[in-house]
Amino acid sequence: MNVYDFIDDFLEKLAEELASTLPDLKDKLIVASRDAILGNVSRVETWMAMLAGGQLTEEELSWLVRAKMDLSNLVILENSGLALTRIDALRQTITRTFVSTIMSATGV
């Protein structure tokens, strides 16, 4: 089984699981999971080699893939949080510029 066969197999099982637990979010979660896994193909390949060498069990491999997906969610939260921080900083800059422009225009 190559890495892409493994990923297909994994996503199929995940879809079955989500169909019963989170049916409304199933499609979105599957897309997000596939993106997260495809972004880590080299790591999954390493784990598959470890599986073949008996260093990891199939269950451990599955756990690690899911852990990578959870990690991706943390990184997404980090990036979206930092984007809000930058928006706040921009708003403060605009406010300062606005106030100083008003003050210089009114001669205060």
């Binding site: 784990w47 470890m50 260093q55 990891l56 069990t57 451990e60 756990w63 690690l64 899911r66 852990a67 990578k68 997906m69 959870d70 990690l71 969610n73 943390l74 990184v75 939260l77 980090e78 979206s80 949080g81 930092l82 809000l84 921080t85 930058r86 928006i87 706040d88 900083a89 708003r91 403060q92 605009i94 406010t95 606005f98 106030v99 008003i102």
Partner: protein
């Protein structure tokens, strides 16, 4: 005359827009930088990766240290949850400590359930959990450059 009114209404609109901008700028969308939150995450990263290394040993021998670690993780989560506009960090901690998920909380549950874990698995899991802490720390430290005030 028409030109005069149109000029006034345009000026009013611009002024209203500016006032709205000022009001909007007064309420930040995300909690400001907190040194305490940053320090807590850094310390927990160090204090979590070492106990993970012990997962090769029977869980029964490490019950107390895992209990202490879980307690400290819960405190970090509650601290994040208690800060206003801190949804992103709170959600990060929630995933990190969730016993049903697959980061630190899930790792500790797995250790408890299985009794002990293999060295290869521990090493790989440590690397992922470490990345998770980096994301939590990165969000907090990334706020420093934003020049927001009022951090606790």
């Amino acid at each position: 005359m028409l030109f005069y009114y149109s000029k006034i209404s345009r000026s009013s609109a611009v002024l209203a827009l500016c006032v709205c901008s000022v009001i909007a700028a007064c309420s930040p969308s995300i909690a400001p930088y907190s040194f305490h939150a940053y320090q807590q995450a850094v310390e927990l990263k160090v204090n979590s990766l070492d106990p993970m290394q012990l997962a090769e040993l029977p869980f029964s021998e490490q019950v107390k240290s895992v209990k202490d670690l879980r307690s400290r993780l819960s405190k970090a989560y509650e601290f994040a949850r208690g800060r206003p506009r801190n949804d992103h960090s709170t959600k990060q901690w929630e995933i990190m400590i969730d016993p049903e998920a697959h980061l630190l909380g899930g790792f500790l549950t797995r250790w408890e359930e299985q009794g002990h874990l293999s060295q290869s698995f521990i090493t790989e899991a440590q690397s992922i959990v470490s990345g998770g802490f980096d994301a939590i720390i990165g969000l907090e430290s990334g706020k420093i450059g934003s020049k927001q005030g009022g951090g606790s």
